[in-house]
Symmetry: C2
């Protein structure tokens, strides 16, 4: 497509929106992630000589086009919601203003990064909330989708609520806390379980979590662990615990808790890890299983239950004269029709600081003031009156200017804190796992009108696929 | 764990097996992939000074251990089934012989690469067979799990039957054929659909697949496409086609076929792409939809329906004296108990070259000869008599020796050819999507006996978690 635009000298300034159409996991919200890695990727995007050699070797590309690629950099402006924002279907998450060729080039890169990290941050938030804001450890490296699938997942999981990762490369590259554990092979490498436990405690006396299900959890496992736990306690060490990785975790964790308490180890923690997800964690907590640490791997990093976010990147405006003309794709499937024009997003809060609705308006409209605000629900087409005490702030903020980062990079722990604060503020009926209420994403009267006008004029009365002039 | 082994000077030579316990996607088989990338990763594995600086900064590691890591290389031997082999649950896919510390270090790396690529190669094979060995194009970059998730998926999808990928980086790095297409934004960048089609045809006259659902598939879309298709045909060009990306593909493809044929374009191809997977492709073919090219993205590269392979890596033997002692983990959950000892895998074929059963024996047993062979099914514990005309060859072959690649690297197209030949040879009842028959994976009498002996001796009569001496 780039070669085609170059050949025909079709390269207007355009605006693309990124948004998704369906909430992942059947949930009521998503957590946006991937903005910072995207900025890094766009800043450094270029074609190296070896890339051009390869493209030339395919026989698909003309020399004059390849010569252009040597100099190509992404020089656009990008607007985005803040990393870690709680977001909803059909609202603009990112907006790219660039020459068509550049805007088109970055489509797959942008969707690849933001779709995946948003999916995992959302899954992490669901799991984190299911633990009751407990200690969630991400243990997914071995089942993640390739080395980078693991690294990106560790980052997104941390934003969404994980306290630490077992992936030390993620610790090194991204500054995420790391947390390790022992495997069954440790136990099997020693003459017996008690010796294996003691040897581990010698090396890690203050973070000693013993895996007790290698041979017989409620037999040798808990007995040997208690021996070592008491030895550590007598030595003045803290942080002792046990881990369960198989079996029925409700009766096992209860019995293990009872044994630990009887042995004077009531401060010992119980960790679990066995194909957990938000559903099974919710059930364990509802059954009163006394669990302190949640190790989640596969379902967290592979987004068990919904392995892809349906994020798309659509042309919404094209330069015309000194301004922009709104554009939309009309589809046979109304759900695939996108909102036209350059848009801004506002979040309306109630008096307690809880979000009540999102409001999308054209950027050219004057920003909403405090007081009453007429808006339309695109699903039921009904007008609503929104009340807002203070004028809401625009949520899409510039993050790149002419291809360069615009504004400060935020440390990841601050992003995480802000994300968790936003999750807590979310109404319970939107947050819940089962059958959540749809959070209202409303549009301004002007945006609705623009959409209606384009719907009537596209594909054009001649039936020849001619959009509105 | 490595630090613990180093501290206690516990570093015997050991053997680990990689295997999976459950066939992915509820299917009857899997396609092994990731062996070659794993070899590359193991050959180059080392800790760089910046890695050691990071590990030191965590405060978790002792200086004498970090000093050892400077020199650490993977020096083990690796045995594996050939890349692209059709494989089954509970049989050894890889066997690693190494010092315990090295064998432990590579666990997550090995599982990360082989689990993911095997999962995607398997999904690709399912989809490829569902198309009736048609032309499958992998279009997954935008929904894959990160940039490398896409690249690894393109590789594995190609092994499993995809003819090409839309990911040009995969083309460059791996030599996979690339195949592009136009997006709706191309259509929207021109004054009308016909102009957009004509402009595309000018640039790609011999690979012109036009997307016809932007405005009205059976109205302007097919009409404008036929105009351009006839212009190309008159100009002597070939390779023309149309693509459908929305709507009910059965009636749409039939009507589009009829229109193309009536217009004298019976050689024009119909491509489809709309959240396809093996199930929907099977339904489309069963309904007689006249489709020539299948573009599959999300469900292929994210392994829709089953986002992780349950591959594990388990200690099976430990050096003792001049030999090895078999080791097994006994679990409260019998399904999590693994087969002990150093094992070899043999595939038994019938007279027509179709695989009938796999047979696992201890490496120390004399290899099976032609004729009758007694074997046991671990599921129903029954003895079976296998007949084999010729002595079966050992399937696990050495691929690394003392940390270096052993043997030639196979070009990817050859791997793909061999994979597709193996898939075709698979009995229909094992290959089918719905309710496949379990392919027999049997064990030798000696292996069964070893397992029984260890089951009785682990965890030891004293109940203190003491394995067999």
């Amino acid at each position: 497509m780039m070669q085609g635009y170059h050949f025909h000298k079709v390269n207007p300034r355009v605006v693309f929106d990124m948004f998704f159409r369906r909430q992942p996991f059947g949930g009521g919200y998503a957590v946006l992630a991937g903005i910072e890695p995207l900025i890094d990727a766009l800043e450094t995007l270029r074609f190296e000589p070896r890339d051009l050699d390869y493209l030339r070797s395919t026989g698909l590309f003309r020399d004059d086009f390849l010569d252009e690629l040597v100099h190509l950099r992404f020089g656009g402006d990008v607007y985005a919601l803040p990393e870690g924002s709680v977001v909803f279907a059909n609202e603009p998450l990112l907006r790219v203003h660039a020459d068509l060729i550049e805007a088109q080039l970055i489509e797959s890169l942008l969707l690849n990064i933001v779709n995946f990290q948003t999916l995992i941050a959302t899954k992490a938030a669901r799991i984190y909330l299911a633990t009751g804001e407990g200690t969630l450890l991400e243990f997914g490296l071995r089942r993640a989708h390739g080395p980078d699938g693991a690294l990106s997942a560790s980052r997104a999981a941390y934003i969404g609520g994980a306290a630490a990762t077992s992936n030390t490369l993620a610790g090194q590259r991204l500054g995420i806390p790391v947390s390790g554990t022992m495997a069954h092979s440790w136990i099997m490498a020693f003459a017996d379980e008690l010796e294996a436990f003691r040897r581990y405690a010698e090396v890690f006396p203050d973070s000693c979590i013993l895996l007790i299900d290698t041979y017989d959890t409620l037999g040798s496992g808990i007995r040997n662990a208690i021996v070592v736990g008491r030895e550590l306690k007598d030595g003045g060490h803290k942080g002792f615990g046990v881990r369960l990785d198989s079996g029925d975790l409700v009766p096992l964790s209860r019995e293990v808790r009872r044994c630990l308490n009887s042995a004077g180890l009531s401060d010992a923690r119980i960790a679990v890890s066995n194909d957990l997800d938000e559903g099974s964690i919710g059930s364990l907590r509802a059954a009163g299983a006394p669990i302190d640490l949640w190790g989640v791997g596969t379902n967290l990093v592979t987004a068990g239950g919904d392995p892809a976010l349906s994020g798309v990147y659509k042309l919404v405006a094209r330069s015309q004269g000194s301004g922009y003309q709104p554009v939309m794709k009309r589809s046979d499937d109304p759900a695939k029709t996108s909102d036209p024009g350059i848009k801004q997003l506002y979040r309306i809060y109630d008096g307690q600081g809880r979000p009540r609705a999102d409001y999308i308006a054209l950027e050219e409209e004057s920003p909403p003031k405090g007081g009453g605000l007429e808006a339309f629900d695109p699903v039921d087409e009904k007008p609503r009156m929104l009340k807002t005490l203070v004028p809401p702030s625009p949520m899409l903020r510039q993050v790149m200017s002419s291809g360069k980062r615009y504004g400060q990079r935020e440390p990841l722990p601050e992003t995480r804190d802000r994300t968790l604060t936003s999750l807590r503020a979310l109404p319970e009926e939107v947050r819940r796992l089962d059958d959540p209420v749809r959070y209202p994403v409303l549009v301004s009267a002007t945006l609705r009108q623009t959409r209606e006008l384009l719907l009537r004029s596209v594909p054009g009365g001649d039936g020849h696929g001619r959009p509105s002039a």
